[in-house]
């Protein structure tokens, strides 16, 4: 891809931006230039480029496609309001969006945490009756819901690293960039988060 920075009406951004190379940084600069000249076009580009990735991430976290759609909209609208901050951040737009999406899902989790706790208590009282948790409106045959629910019960700092590493597919270094912490912290939280998940799943029957 050419490294020339022009003022295009459309941009060719890589579909999966990882740690930016020099060429990718150049394209990011081109996008930032577009943001100055045609803000709506720049926001549209970021939406078209990253919507599926954000919606997938939120769907994997919640198990509910409609909720994921709502949270994705909330993510992008929040991103549009704060897009000027992106200029000051040394991260690709994808990571910035994942940070906003993670915060959006945390807010939703906070609201449903009590319902999840009640579901867990019911599951423990009736281990044979494994009904889907009330918190999720996903398909009742979703075999991943117990693991999702267990992730949702984790403290926020463990939830974030687990979700970004496994559900968004980020490497440890990338998770550290998104969360603005050290790689050592990410590794530690991943390890401790997994330990907590194991204990939680074992105590609730361990069904997947």
């Amino acid at each position: 891809m050419s490294s020339q920075t022009t003022a295009p009406s459309t941009l060719e951004l890589p579909a999966d931006e990882c740690i930016p190379t020099a060429a990718q940084s150049s394209r990011e600069d081109a996008w930032l230039t577009l943001l100055e000249t045609d803000r709506t076009a720049a926001l549209t580009e970021i939406y078209r480029r990253h919507y599926r990735m954000i919606a997938s991430y939120l769907y994997r976290r919640t198990g509910d496609p409609h909720l994921a759609e709502d949270l994705a909209a909330e993510t992008f609208l929040a991103a549009f309001r704060t897009v000027d901050r992106l200029r000051k951040l040394a991260v690709p737009a994808r990571f910035w969006l994942l940070r906003i999406a993670t915060n959006a899902s945390h807010r939703w989790m906070r609201g449903t945490r009590r319902r999840i706790a009640r579901e867990q208590a019911r599951e423990q009282a009736q281990p044979q009756a494994r009904t889907p948790p009330e918190a999720s409106r996903s398909d009742s045959t979703d075999s991943h819901q117990p693991v999702r629910s267990a992730v949702a019960r984790l403290p926020r700092r463990f939830q974030a690293v687990i979700a970004l590493h496994y559900f968004a597919g980020l490497a440890v270094q990338e998770v550290a960039l998104v969360l603005e912490c050290s790689e050592g912290t990410v590794k530690s939280r991943l390890s401790r988060g997994r330990d907590r998940l194991r204990r939680d799943l074992e105590s609730t029957g361990g069904a997947v």
């Binding site: 803000r39 939406y47 919507y51 919606a55 992008f76 609208l77 991943h144 559900f167 997994r194 361990g206």
Partner: protein, 159 residues
């Protein structure tokens, strides 16, 4: 360790988490709320205001609806910085000038098709977990005047 529904062999937690990470997004690549917001930003950018100044920025998309004694009223409220509010009432669009207070809330008064007036308080604190802002609407034959002594209601400023 976790067990799968249809197997007796244990599945590791890592495998379970990675399996969730491989789930495909079943929806489309389009989101109506986002696209409407972008479209409105484009419309605002292309139109000169008829009167007064509209300070343009990606703003809030507010959707409010209420079931009233006179029927279902769909109110779509859009706040433009400080002065312009566009309200859609049963497909008819009205533009209102309101002054939001320091806390970001604003009182919008609309006239319903039957002549009654409805007042709608909008603000970010009404946002629900799904991102929608829901505002209460009261209908009155003789609506009270807009709050004048409320600290959150700044004086009306007309251009």
């Amino acid at each position: 360790m976790t067990t799968s529904n249809d197997k007796s062999t244990p599945v590791s937690l890592d495998e379970s988490l990675h399996a969730i990470g491989r789930i495909d997004w079943p929806g489309t690549d389009r989101n109506q709320r986002i696209e409407e917001h972008l479209m409105n930003s484009t419309v605002i950018a292309s139109k000169a205001p008829a009167a007064g100044r509209i300070r343009r920025r990606p703003g809030l998309w507010l959707g409010a609806g209420a079931l009233l004694a006179s029927g279902l009223v769909y109110g779509s409220v859009r706040l433009y910085d400080r002065y312009k509010v566009r309200v859609n009432v049963n497909g008819v669009e009205h533009i209102h000038e309101v002054q939001s207070g320091p806390d970001g809330t604003a009182m919008v008064e609309v006239t319903l098709p039957d002549g009654k007036k409805a007042r709608m308080l909008v603000g970010p604190e009404n946002k629900g977990p799904d991102g929608e802002i829901r505002a209460g609407i009261s209908v009155s034959e003789n609506p009270p005047s807009v709050r004048k002594n409320d600290a959150t209601a700044a004086p009306q400023k007309k251009d």
